[in-house]
């Protein structure tokens, strides 16, 4: 029975270790995106979300240090000071109230978006490529254009290359794919909805 208990323990520890490693790895390679971890509905970063995140880490890490730092063997503390609950309560309460204020002000709910022109491109294509321009929608006048990342959704036919801060050129592939094939050009920036343009061959 002791051997079975130990084997079960090894399996659980291995599984937990692999799970934790996989989560961290996926975050690092971008498979799990944390880009909007502290963002609100409109894409702006939220101080109350950041505060709640910081306190959650601090309290969890502190609790863990206390548990493993026990004299003889790891032991959960007998009681948690009420101040710790109050700390988390103030932080969570502040977050909830800020959400209420946010929902009373529509501009705080709309995320700025990137808009591509032209949004639809059809054959025949010019040999020099198709120029695209980006503008910003759903944002106050004067909002600066962010750094853009251009990409092609699968099937990634042709190539896309930035030519300036707000422009890019899509070059058609040779030979052209089957008639009717659709490819999406995507412009991305943190805090903005993606800008899309659809190419139809």
């Amino acid at each position: 029975m002791s051997a079975l208990t130990t084997a079960a323990g090894v399996v659980v520890v291995t599984f937990a270790g692999l799970l934790g490693f996989t989560i961290l790895l996926w975050i690092w390679i971008g498979k799990i995106s944390l880009s909007k971890l502290v963002s609100e509905a409109n894409g702006d970063a939220s101080m109350s979300r950041l505060q709640f995140l910081i306190f959650t880490f601090v309290i969890s890490l502190s609790l863990f240090l206390i548990v493993v730092g026990h004299d003889k063997s790891p032991k959960f503390p007998d009681d948690i000071p009420p101040g710790v609950f109050a700390l988390l309560g103030i932080s969570a309460g502040s977050y909830l109230i800020s959400k209420g204020i946010q929902f009373s002000n529509p501009p705080q709910l709309t995320q700025p978006a990137l808009a591509l022109a032209p949004a639809a491109i059809s054959a025949p294509f010019p040999a020099t490529g198709v120029p695209l321009a980006v503008s910003i929608a759903n944002a106050p006048t004067g909002t600066a254009l962010p750094a853009l990342t251009w990409s092609l959704d699968a099937p990634a036919e042709g190539s896309i290359k930035a030519t300036a801060a707000a422009t890019a050129t899509w070059m058609p592939p040779a030979p052209l794919p089957a008639t009717g094939t659709k490819v999406t050009i995507r412009a991305q920036a943190a805090g903005f909805e993606d800008g899309l343009a659809v190419i139809t061959f």
Partner: protein, 114 residues
């Protein structure tokens, strides 16, 4: 493998995961992989932005209180979670109140025409 070895392994797994996640998020915040756009700006009723001192003070007090508590926990040898120093909760409550007041003021008042 003994039970104590397993417990030792679990401790390291948890500490590596929590620290790894904290470091990953900190790096993400500092490098821009996690968006901090307009973190210190308030959105006004007309959608425009203004620099927000109340957010700066909230950030400063949050970091100060978090650091102080983490240090207390690291140096604690009693096996108990350290209590928060006197006045900390009042300070945090006041700081959050100022932040929420500023947020509400920005969201609800009409922006003066310039």
């Amino acid at each position: 493998m003994s039970a104590s070895s397993l417990a030792y392994l679990v401790q390291w797994e948890v500490i590596v995961f929590i620290l790894g996640l904290a470091v990953t998020i900190a790096i993400g915040l500092l490098t821009g992989r996690i968006s901090t756009r307009y973190l210190l700006y308030a959105t006004q009723k007309d959608g425009s932005k203004r620099f927000s001192p109340e957010r700066v003070q909230l950030l400063v007090f949050t970091i100060a209180i978090a650091s102080q508590y983490l240090l207390s926990a690291a140096h604690s040898s009693s096996g108990k979670m350290p209590a928060l120093p006197d006045g900390t909760l009042q300070l945090l409550g006041l700081s959050n109140g100022i932040y929420l007041g500023g947020k509400g003021w920005s969201a609800l008042r009409d922006v003066p025409k310039s």
